[in-house]
Amino acid sequence: MKRLTLTGNHCVAYAVKLSRVKVVPAYPITPQTTMVEKISEMADSGEADIQVIRVESEHSALAAAYGAATAGVRAFTATSSHGLLYMVEMVWWVAHARIPMVMAIVTRTIGPPWNIWTDHHDIMSQRDTGWLIAMAENNQEVLDETIKLFKITEDPDVSLPGMIGLDAFILSHTVEPVEVPDQELVDSFLPERRQPYVIRSGDPLIMGNVPADLLANAKMRWDVHLGLKNAEDVIEKVDEEWGKLTGRYYGGLVECYRCEDADYLFVGAGAWVGDMRIAVDMLRETGLRFGVLKLRYARPFPSRRILEAVSGKRGVLVLDRAVSAGSAGPIFLDLASHIYSARPSVPVKNVVAGLAGYEANYEDFARIGESFAKEVSESGWVSSPLEFYPGR
């Protein structure tokens, strides 16, 4: 184990090397570029046995990664924002072909206007595709979760690809202390690659042709959903195993900060959860017992864990860094619908903030939290379930 000061992008590069990825096709886009540059340097110097393929677009980047993964090796690519949108056809294809691989999404605002700062519209727009979607709060989690995703996605109960989301600049280009595990530790943690089928030269196999049996096709569709639901248990087990090896257990699908005795919960995902922790400490000093439920995975959506955490609370405040235009924030939509069947009598409010990289920090969350607690105690419920936070 080495303690280094690394950017989030370099953490992904180290994780890719340690996971013995063999093929990385990539097309550069700010703020992902320094990640694939680092991987390219590692490949060039011989530090990592990786074939880097320069392609002409993001669509080709994922198509080439899919090809390599189908042929039986670990493959990886990374993109952001418009790059992700350009590869969307392949995003669906990889998942429904049941080919495990890992892709990093450096979350970045979608234009127009051109904007390189973080929000979560790019990654959240992919939540129907069949990929696992993990979100990191800090650079250590970026590194650890990328390694874990190879194991989770290749589990025979899952066999689906996975994304690791890291916020543009506030993780991707921010340096902080990170423990980088030794190769031996990662080798002992990651098994040989497993996947449902391998296409080999001289051993023909037709995949993806027009189906003769539509019911079989329908069942395959539903099975992608079941694979993601299976991933819930796999994520929990793999995180526990990682915790035993490294001392870093993250709580599986969600992490709770001061949730147990809390009256109110913030729910959020990504780097700004760190500021929510500080806001919780500030609010508690004023007598308002808040906690944070950090969503570590948006897919599979951790409905059971969330229901356990919100039951009996006085109020739940979901902070989304994206909005499904015409509806509400994506985490709120999932959370509200998944707790519905259990009929919990807890008011849930959605605040959309931090769009287009506009900062929302601990002072903002303390203010939003205080106003939410007031709204709930005065009205007994939420008078306005969806609000846009305009900043201070």
Binding site: T5, V175, E176, G274, D275
Partner: protein, 192 residues
């Protein structure tokens, strides 16, 4: 020395330089040295439209405790100016805390900021003496980290370790010398 660093409070630093001058590298080196000392640190750039020669800022936050916030630094305890000429059109002292410290690369004393201390070091001279010049530009960023670390109370050895880890060969040694000279030559010239 800034007692706030030793007292366990968070110290926030803003670096002012020009694109290509290494302000981001300076912030990263400072954090690497602080981590080697056993502290926690984060360093991050401000990304506007960056062009070589244009004014840029970079940031570092150092603490004895783990840092959770990702917020921008608006009220720094310290500002570091790599090129004093940018002070003609950038307010490098904006938001500088009362009792804070400004460190400027300058051959001569400058006007101290209001209610803060001013330090100067001739990092350009140090770079020229050592032949640390790239594409006609004296490389002053590592020297400025050396000067700042003296003021923040981070021992020179940690800076030298960080420099040798980030760079290699002759360039590492020249930069290590620059950091050491600036660490020893930085002087307080007054307080506003």
């Amino acid at each position: 020395m800034m007692s706030s660093l030793l007292g366990g409070e968070t110290v926030e630093v803003r670096f002012h330089g020009r694109g290509g001058q290494g302000a981001v590298t300076a912030a990263n080196l400072l954090v690497d040295a602080a981590v080697r000392k056993g502290l926690w640190g984060v360093a991050f750039p401000f990304f506007g439209a960056e062009r070589r020669g244009a004014p840029v800022t970079a940031y570092a936050r150092i603490s004895s405790k783990r840092i959770y916030t990702r917020s921008m630094i608006r009220r720094p305890d310290s500002v570091v100016v790599l090129d004093p000429a940018i002070m003609n059109y950038v307010n490098a002292f904006a938001g500088l805390k009362e009792g804070g410290a400004a460190v400027i690369n300058s051959p001569k004393p400058q006007q101290p900021p209001a209610k803060a201390r001013l330090y100067v070091v001739n990092a350009t001279r140090i770079a020229l003496d050592l032949g640390l010049v790239l594409a006609g530009w004296p490389l002053v960023n590592v020297a400025m980290v050396g000067a700042l670390s003296r003021i923040l109370g981070i021992e020179l050895d940690y800076i030298l370790e960080a420099v040798r880890s980030a760079l290699s060969g002759r360039i590492a040694e020249l930069n290590a010398k620059a950091a050491e000279r600036a660490y020893n030559e930085v002087v307080e010239v007054g307080a506003g």
